[in-house]
Symmetry: C2
Subunit: 209 residues, 2 copies
DNA sequence: CCTCTTGTTGTACGATCGTTCAACAAGACA
DNA sequence: TGTCTTGTTGAACGATCGTACAACAAGAGG
């Protein structure tokens, strides 16, 4: 009398949702939005076809949840006491190997391209990037105040964000063109050109995401 | 005896292809890659369903032709005698109203997101952006030589390209955040921070695309 | 007016899409 | 062990996808 075979293993709703989110990100990284398919996501997660619509309202809802997950630590990563450390932390995390790789960048690019088609996605993006830019501008204002020279923090914050995202884009489209270290140095050079030197600044532990 | 009604009007292959290319760009601008559909393209061009596969090898082939069309003037726009004028020309054309609008930017973003899925598209992108970056770096070298101070032209060219594309991206995702004039000024500010002042530089006519 | 080239049409096809839903069973609990 | 909740399965549906292809006709040339 052998033990009955187990066809599948039940998991908590939250845990299964996390697995489906991870599987969706993997699909986006492999083949962009055209690979973001119920079939492929479920195959990636090793579950049957009906499970996505059981755990999520729709495929679009899953995509929004995925973007929420990906942007969750965008602001948290700035949790540094010193303004200079905050800026350096952004640069470091933006070009950490865990973020700055083709698979992850393709997922980001695929979602960016969908923002125009999905109002919920658009609203989420606006919210996240608004906080993100505000925090950078505040850090720049702090530095300007301490150094005693004026900075157009809104404009410079926009340039920093655009440079980072632009480098992400270029690397995603042509990863042989330059390296992770090049991209990081470009950001530091930009800030240095505006009089902000981050050389020797140390960041507190726990922000190495 | 009335004249027989004309069901459709024949056009030359080249002319019809241009119309289909234009219709494809319109679709990309309206709904991204998911709106880039045989049905919608043909409806946009007011032709029947079979015409795309008659004039193009496949839908992918049309997409490559579209990107070739969109990037055709990327290098030509630098046709200026003075290095400073070349840089200014790039900034001006990148943020001209005919380029820097949501519809056009969405088309670009949609294609960028497809580069990873299409080898022909990827090869075309690499080729175009390589020439583009090389030309910018050469202009920067010219300026550095004339001013007598060193410039890491490869790095700075990459920053300029990334900043422009990054601003395109940000504007596409959140067009209320800043204006066309802001974006243009950001580029000029970046170059100025590196010691390159384009104030008062005039560009020759005929490059206003 | 006739002929011929070829641009154009529209149907048909198989594949794949997202979603629904009845049925099943894993596993906690009494 | 028996009951019940609910996570999970997999078939079924209509819609839409890209492509192929036979039939049609616009319009130039004779």
């Amino acid at each position: 009398m052998s033990k009955r075979t187990i066809a599948y293993r039940r998991k908590t709703a939250e845990q299964r949702q996390q697995e489906l989110i991870a599987a969706g990100i993997t699909c986006l990284g492999k083949g962009g939005i055209s690979a973001f398919t119920i079939d492929r996501i479920c195959r990636e997660a090793n579950v049957s076809r009906g499970l996505v619509n059981h755990h999520f309202k729709s495929k679009e809802d899953l995509l929004v949840r995925i973007y929420a997950e990906m942007t969750a630590h965008l602001v948290d990563d700035m949790a540094q006491s010193d303004a200079r450390a905050q800026l350096l932390s952004i640069v470091e995390t933006s070009f950490a190997a865990s973020s700055f790789n083709t698979s992850n960048l393709r997922a980001w690019l695929a979602i960016w391209a969908e923002v125009g088609n999905n109002e919920a996605l658009s609203a989420l993006h606006r919210s996240r990037y608004h906080s993100y830019t505000i925090r950078i501008a505040a850090a720049l204002d702090d530095i300007a105040a301490s150094k005693g020279f004026p900075i157009n923090s809104t404009s410079l914050a926009r340039q920093v964000v655009a440079l980072i995202d632009g480098l992400w884009l270029e690397y995603c489209l042509h990863s042989e063109g330059f390296s992770l270290a090049d991209a990081k140095q470009d950001c530091l050079d930009l800030l240095l050109a505006y009089g902000i030197d981050l050389t020797g600044v140390s960041i507190a532990a726990g922000a190495d995401r």
